[in-house]
């Protein structure tokens, strides 16, 4: 295993970086979309119910199937992978974001509304700061899930650590399988720690 790493360290490194790239791009896009949807949902319970139901249905589709479904539309490669990962994240992020905002003490929200805060002021000055923990918790779940599902995206030529993993599986090369899984686990844990630090900082 060590021998494999010393021989192919450049391949491992580039796969890790590629993985990181997919994850970071996915998370950034997911976050922007989820934030917008959350704000929209905060205006309408009906909308939030519809969206959550829709995303939960999509979330229950296996990732391999969803990737395959999109190939005719967006082709093979990273773009399709990112789209699928972003869609999956919407369920995790939106559900956690809305639950977080909903969990803010009702009397605080009532006082803020009663004193004449607009809907946006209520969100920015009261609900979001008070729900910060829950919001970051949601982001962390999305992060770990993205790192994991991104390995499967290698099956549609998106690259990343999944390509090493699948190579290993095809050729029964234990070193490759192990490195692929270990590095992706390390990536998930490392990035999760970073978010945890951001929450405390």
């Amino acid at each position: 295993m060590i021998a494999y790493a010393s021989k192919y360290y450049d391949r491992l490194l580039s796969a890790t970086l590629e993985h990181l790239e997919i994850v970071v791009i996915t998370l950034l896009i997911s976050l922007v979309i989820a934030a917008g949807l959350t704000v929209a949902c905060s205006y309408s319970r009906t909308l939030s119910r519809i969206l959550l139901n829709a995303f939960s249905v999509i979330y229950s589709v296996p990732s391999l199937a969803l990737l395959a479904l999109l190939i005719p539309v967006t082709g093979l490669g990273k773009k399709t992978a990112v789209i699928v990962l972003v869609i999956y994240n919407q369920y995790l992020l939106l559900r956690n974001f809305l639950a977080g905002l909903d969990g803010v003490d009702r009397s605080v929200v009532e006082a803020a509304t009663g004193m004449g805060m607009t809907h946006m002021q209520l969100l920015w000055k009261v609900q979001i700061p008070l729900a910060k923990k829950a919001l970051i918790a949601g982001l962390r779940i999305a992060l770990v899930s993205t790192v994991g599902i991104a390995t499967i995206a290698a099956s549609i030529n998106a690259g990343g650590l999944g390509s090493i993993l699948f190579d290993g599986l095809r050729t029964m090369n234990v070193a490759k399988i192990l490195w692929g899984s270990l590095l992706s686990a390390a990536l998930a844990i490392g990035m999760d720690r970073l978010l945890l630090l951001a929450e405390k900082g």
């Binding site: 605080v108 929200v109 006082a111 009663g114 004449g116």
Partner: protein, 255 residues
């Protein structure tokens, strides 16, 4: 005397309820009056109050503040003209006491010095030393102190009308007595119109220039405490007065 608040045949029924929380209520409150609204839970007193700052919208009828129908005014503007104090207080836990009080002045973009001066003035007014309390967080205060801050926050931009929803309901009786007396002093000195919801008959009669007695969404009697005790309008009011007198006799036994 000017009319501060007027309800014109206001009705509100909540979705799925078989009765009206507020049932064809018409009532007028004069400027500068301290009116308490008394009733047991579910009688519609809080609903009546919350329609004034449009946390609830009436199904029919209209509510007039100083001659203006509030349904025609921007909801945020209506609320900023009204001080609102609730039993759960609802201080912002992530803001200091000073920042809590300064919330609305900040929304209105007052300059820093004016805001800071106003915060200190208000803290003094509600009996908290500014230097000691300004930078504390709500979690570091007792319930009574928190409600003092709640009151200061509601007074921040000097609203003409104060709505208070059982503000002292969760506060121990000794502190409550004190806060009640201080609120009376505040009212005497500032001449604000106060609508104060309570289920405590003693509190209602002690504080109110006039008392609204509500039951099942209707106003049973609206008069001075004296007149209510002398001439209860109906059996319900009578039973309310009787219950207070019975309590009195209970304590008399231990004298």
């Amino acid at each position: 005397m000017n009319t501060a608040i007027e309800f014109r045949d206001v009705t509100k029924t909540f979705k799925g309820a078989s009765y009206s929380a507020v049932d064809h209520v018409s009532v007028t409150v004069n400027e500068g009056e301290f009116v308490t609204i008394l009733g047991s839970s579910g009688c519609g007193k809080t609903t009546l109050l919350k329609m004034i700052n449009r946390l609830y919208e009436p199904d029919s009828g209209s509510i007039i503040l100083f001659g203006e129908d509030i349904s025609t005014v921007d909801v945020v503007k209506v609320r900023r003209r009204i001080g609102y104090v609730i039993q759960q207080i609802g201080l912002f836990p992530h803001y200091t006491v000073g920042e809590n009080i300064a919330t609305v002045p900040k929304l209105l973009k007052w300059d820093k010095e004016k805001t800071a001066a106003r915060v200190d003035e208000l803290l003094e007014l509600v009996g908290l030393k500014p230097d000691e309390f300004r930078d504390r967080y709500p979690s570091q205060l007792s319930g009574g102190q928190q409600q003092r801050v709640g009151l200061a926050r509601a007074l921040a931009i000097d609203p003409k009308i104060m709505l208070m929803d059982e503000p002292f309901g969760a506060i121990d009786s000794i502190t409550r007595e004190k806060l009640q007396s201080e609120l009376l002093d505040l009212h005497r000195n500032m001449g604000k119109t106060i609508l104060f919801v309570t289920h405590d008959i003693e509190e209602a009669f002690k504080l109110g220039d006039r008392v609204i007695i509500m039951n099942e969404g209707k106003i049973r009697q609206f008069d001075t405490p004296e007149n209510i005790i002398r001439q209860p309008a109906d059996a319900f009011v009578q039973s309310l007065v009787d219950s207070a007198l019975a309590k009195e006799r209970f304590w008399e036994r231990y004298r």
